[in-house]
Symmetry: C2
Subunit: 299 residues, 2 copies
């Protein structure tokens, strides 16, 4: 195996790496749960080496490593300063991380920031760059559902503006830790409950705070079927997000980048508003984006 | 000390009791952290006895105990079935809890339920009854801020309708456990940040989901003063609650029952909307309500 370079996606809760051939084919990939949030700054290099050492054996040294994600935050390996929108999702200047091992050479992709309204992203810019590499003519809105969902307006190759929503983190808290957890049992997902909640939340978004507790009360008083509670909570939150993100998607081309199950939900909710969203996988887009970043360095 | 009867407020996270004289004066009080959520059903009686045994010594036995709160839930000592609104906050029929010790006689106050929109309360009905005992002519809206804030429409002595909000639980999660915690440092509370956030949230409540993450981003990009983050988060959430609860308070007499700091915030937010709310302490109202419940049994 002749590793030409290594692509790395290092987020808060996981680390994933790909050994890449000279023609940008994937030779191997590896991942572990050692997210940037669980590793002390002194251990970033050794943690990465643990995962990728086998790939260095027959490679021409030093091997170039291109990384994206929270690893470039202030608390990360090295701070890769934000690029301020409007700008390309990945600029030519990557930030070099300090390393002790002479076999590797690590560059980190910058996140994006927006001055007003204040907003930041780290990792999603790489997915957006990957999407642009795959669909170079796309002009419109890219939505990246996740813990902190991002909506980005992309035009003429640049990210013009973007907006983050805490929908994923709120869903995780409300379904696993709040008083609602007692009423959100596992069960067959209830599509109708989801659709109704999206529509409810979109038409009366100011009522979202009032609707949450009623999930618990309805279950206590009338009983909720297995998957109905979770579907309704998800629909309420995604509906409220769509209501707030309306200036982004209304009358626009929308592309979704994310994990299958989650983009399904966003696609369903958007469809109820007449928007047929294009769907792509976040891992594919991350890898495509890291290839773009690598190419920008070679230029 | 001649204990005539004992008042008990037993919520999810704490237990409080008062030894009451024949003229309804407080002879002694005691509390502990053994909330109903931390005690196994078999241990309810022994947990209460641990707290109140000293008061039984010179009392005429059996001593009547009147309890309110989550202790009357399905998972509590005995289920005190909900009374359905519209109804008096405390009906004459309390539910007797099974006891082994012949020295005590325990009665639990029922919570209230509402069929549509589904809603429930346990504990707040006693505070509402206490408020009515203190202010018998009040007709209007009672707001009880807390983990699950309640808004109740009270008229001609009855609770006509009510609505719960998860504002307190959301604030605790967002400020202590979410990504925002890094930006919500302790510091001098920023009144202006609170006022601005209330106004912002009230005028554009559908943007609440978009505003949350921007607290983090603003801190990363521009820095947030000590208490500004917490004040803004609190303002955003209370503003969104007021927006959803508008059909309750708009043009109405409003009374607040709660802990000092929290009712301060609600009073300030309501004042910005031209509502001067009457304020009372939740412990005082609970005790007054338990006295009413005791009186209803004696009738």
């Amino acid at each position: 195996m002749n590793t030409d370079w290594i692509a790395v996606d290092w987020g808060t809760s996981s680390l994933r790496a790909w050994a890449m051939g000279a023609d940008d084919t994937v030779l191997a990939d590896a991942q572990c749960a050692k997210g940037m949030g669980t590793v002390t700054p002194a251990a970033f290099e050794s943690t990465l080496l643990e995962l990728i050492t086998p790939w260095l054996e027959n490679a021409r040294l030093p091997v170039q490593i291109i990384a994206c994600g929270m690893i470039g935050a202030r608390q990360g390996w090295v701070e890769a300063p934000y690029a301020s929108v409007p700008c390309l999702p990945i600029s030519a200047s990557l930030t070099k991380a300090p390393t002790a091992d002479p076999r590797i050479n690590v560059h980190i992709v910058s996140g994006l920031s927006q001055n007003t309204p204040a907003d930041v992203m780290r990792g999603e810019e790489t997915q957006i760059a990957g999407f642009q590499a795959e669909f170079p003519k796309f002009d419109g809105i890219i939505c990246l559902p996740g813990t902190h969902t991002k909506w980005a307006h992309v035009s003429a190759g640049e990210v013009v503006s973007f907006q983050s929503f805490m929908t994923g983190e709120l869903f995780a808290f409300l379904s696993q830790h709040s008083v609602l957890k007692h009423s959100l049992r596992d069960g067959i997902w209830d599509d109708t409950a989801f659709d109704d909640a999206v529509s409810d939340s979109l038409s009366r978004p100011e009522r979202i705070c009032a609707k949450l507790f009623s999930l618990r009360a309805e279950d206590l008083l009338h009983g909720l079927n297995g998957g109905a509670g979770k579907a309704r909570l998800s629909g309420l939150l995604i509906g409220a997000e769509l209501a707030a993100a309306k200036p982004y998607w209304l009358g626009q081309m929308v592309a979704l980048i994310g994990a299958d199950g989650l983009t399904d939900l966003y696609a369903t909710a958007l469809k109820s508003q007449g928007i047929i969203a294009q769907r792509t996988d976040s891992t594919d887009m991350t890898l495509a984006g890291l290839k773009s970043a690598r190419a920008s360095i070679l230029e």
